[in-house]
Amino acid sequence: MKINIAKYYPLIPVYAVYLTMFLVGFFVPGLWQLVALLAFYCALGQSWNIFMGMTGYVDFGYVTFIALGTYGMALGITYFSQFPGLGIAIIFIGLLLALFLSTLSAILEAGIALRLRGAYFAIACIGINEGLRHLIEGAKIWGGSEGMLYWKELTEVFGTETAIQLTTLWADIAVFIIAAMAAFINVYYMRSKIGYALTAIREDEDAAKVMGIDTTKYKTIAFLTSGWLGALVGAMAWGLKLTHVFPADVFVIHYTVECIVIVVLGGIGTLLGPLVGGLIYGLSKYWLAIILPGFQLLIFAPIIICIIIAFPEGVIGVVKRRVKGTRLERYII
């Protein structure tokens, strides 16, 4: 089958931005942490966009995937560090566990929640998130509310030097890679049958069914992909980077809301949107924390309300309309 390269042109600006971010962070002293934070937000935005942006379903429990990804990494490092000789493989085992756990919860949610629409779907997802969190705390699974700490295990396997390298550098680089993957998957889906099906589902699900679209199948594909990417981000950006996990820290709806804000700011259902939104959100949050520590939320909340009411289509939504019919059009979706 011939591959139409032109379809992937929109990735050029995305990867250019990521490369610039990476180089700036790598070579300008003191900026790595900020760049890593931005990459985290962009990666989350893009991962979340795959499901929500294309189907219009609001997965308010998205943070469940990130949280379970974190637990996957925590379990990988904690339990497999006991086997000598595994070395770096425990990180990959952690990633596999992250995928495994997120698949389980995705099946739970997809099997049931995806049959519900609108408000009921949002509530069911929140329900699963809270149910899992309190189940872990209540039944004292994986350390219960005391969580898991595994810096010691990490140093035992890799030595302090490498452990520091892993948590402060490689975890962040991995987030960049996941972000790049998420961008590619976004474009791939948008330009394939899946994207057409998801758009049809977003606009009119019943009509989509009559047109021959197996709505459950396509929703599940998008949901799983989105969940897996979220779990990978969680495994790296939280699991490996922080070397601890507490249920009360990770199953927090606030993070879902951050994802929504990022995607909506940038432009829902677009490729560049989550990237632009992630940058705007990350930078302004970082900046507000410096100039007005403690007041970020107080300032953010009204601004977000105003932006959503005034520009529901987001930055890229507006740009897209502007470039329609020009040569830039093929690069911006």
Binding site: I112, L116, I123, E130, L297, I304, I305, I308
Partner: protein, 295 residues
């Protein structure tokens, strides 16, 4: 032994259930009328708690005096948020309404935090207690429950015996139909939103009468989640359904706690909360079509 404990707890659960019921009616009313889930529901309950705290500690009044004050504050907030924000989001996609109501909740939390501080507070109000063989019930809890029932009854009368209440029910059923029949739907939207927020803030007063400690700007989150469970249990669009679901929820919550506490090596409180959400999940699983209703 355990049966006595269970019975005692169930009494408390029933009393608390009344307050839960009242605190969820606003959520159901907003969903019924505007088709919007108020994700910032809990923070409005928190506002009610702080209204009470302010009345008691600053003005030295008894907590029940805060009830009308909370209603006024709540309705004022309701009208304000409706005309500035919600009015523009009536037919908007879900993500905008969810995001905006969540942001409103955060805004309330932060404003309260900067006014009152973030620490946990409480107040004292001693008005005697009822001593039964199985348990002891402070009168404050009894008053809170009776108060909740009275407010719910008043709402019922307003819904069923007044012209405007009937109009609200018509809008819940079919807003376009109501519009055709000459109902000023936009006014009904505004009024229902304000009344719903008023109810929610007011329920915060009753909640502090029930649990007069732990008042802090971030206390609302857990009530948002409980209200979701209760609202779905009650059918989501029906305020009375919500009230009775509140009773059931109060009973289950308090009963389950006693039973979970018998299992060694678990945290019964968290398990109880967890159970609530699995209940919600099961409910949505068993009755998705019924709850979805006619599209």
């Amino acid at each position: 032994m355990i049966l006595e404990l269970l019975a005692g707890n169930l009494i408390h659960g029933l009393l608390l259930g009344c307050v839960y019921g009242l605190s969820t009616m606003g959520l159901s009313l907003i969903f019924g009328v505007l088709k919007v889930i108020n994700v910032g529901h809990g923070p409005f309950i928190m506002v009610g708690a702080f209204v009470t705290l302010a009345m008691v500690t600053i003005f030295g009044t008894a907590p029940p005096v805060a009830i009308p004050a909370a209603l006024v504050v709540g309705m004022a907030l309701g009208f304000a948020f409706f005309y500035t924000v919600m009015r523009r989001l009536i037919k908007a996609p879900e993500f905008t309404t969810l995001l905006v109501t969540f942001a409103i909740g955060i805004l309330l939390q932060e404003v309260v935090k900067f006014t009152f501080g973030a620490e946990y507070r409480g107040y004292n109000w001693e008005v005697g207690k009822i001593i039964l063989t199985i348990t002891t019930i402070p009168m404050t809890k009894v008053y809170a429950s009776i108060g909740s029932i009275i407010i719910a009854l008043l709402l019922y009368l307003w819904f069923n015996k007044t012209r405007i209440g009937t109009a609200v029910r018509a809008v819940v059923e079919d807003s376009e139909g109501a519009r055709v029949c000459g109902v000023n739907v936009d006014r009904i939207y505004a009024l229902s939103f304000a009344i719903a927020i008023g109810l929610t803030v007011m329920s915060g007063v009753f909640l502090t009468m029930f649990i007069p400690v732990g008042i802090n700007p971030y206390m609302g989150g857990v009530y948002t989640l409980k209200a979701f469970v209760i609202a779905v249990l009650g059918g989501l669009t029906s305020p009375y359904g919500a009230f009775f679901a509140g009773l059931i929820f109060g009973l289950i919550e308090n009963g389950a706690y006693v039973l979970f506490a018998q299992i060694p090596g678990v945290a019964p409180f968290s398990l109880t909360v967890s159970l609530a959400f699995w209940m919600l999940f099961l409910l949505l699983l068993i009755k998705p079509t019924g709850l979805l209703g006619a599209k």
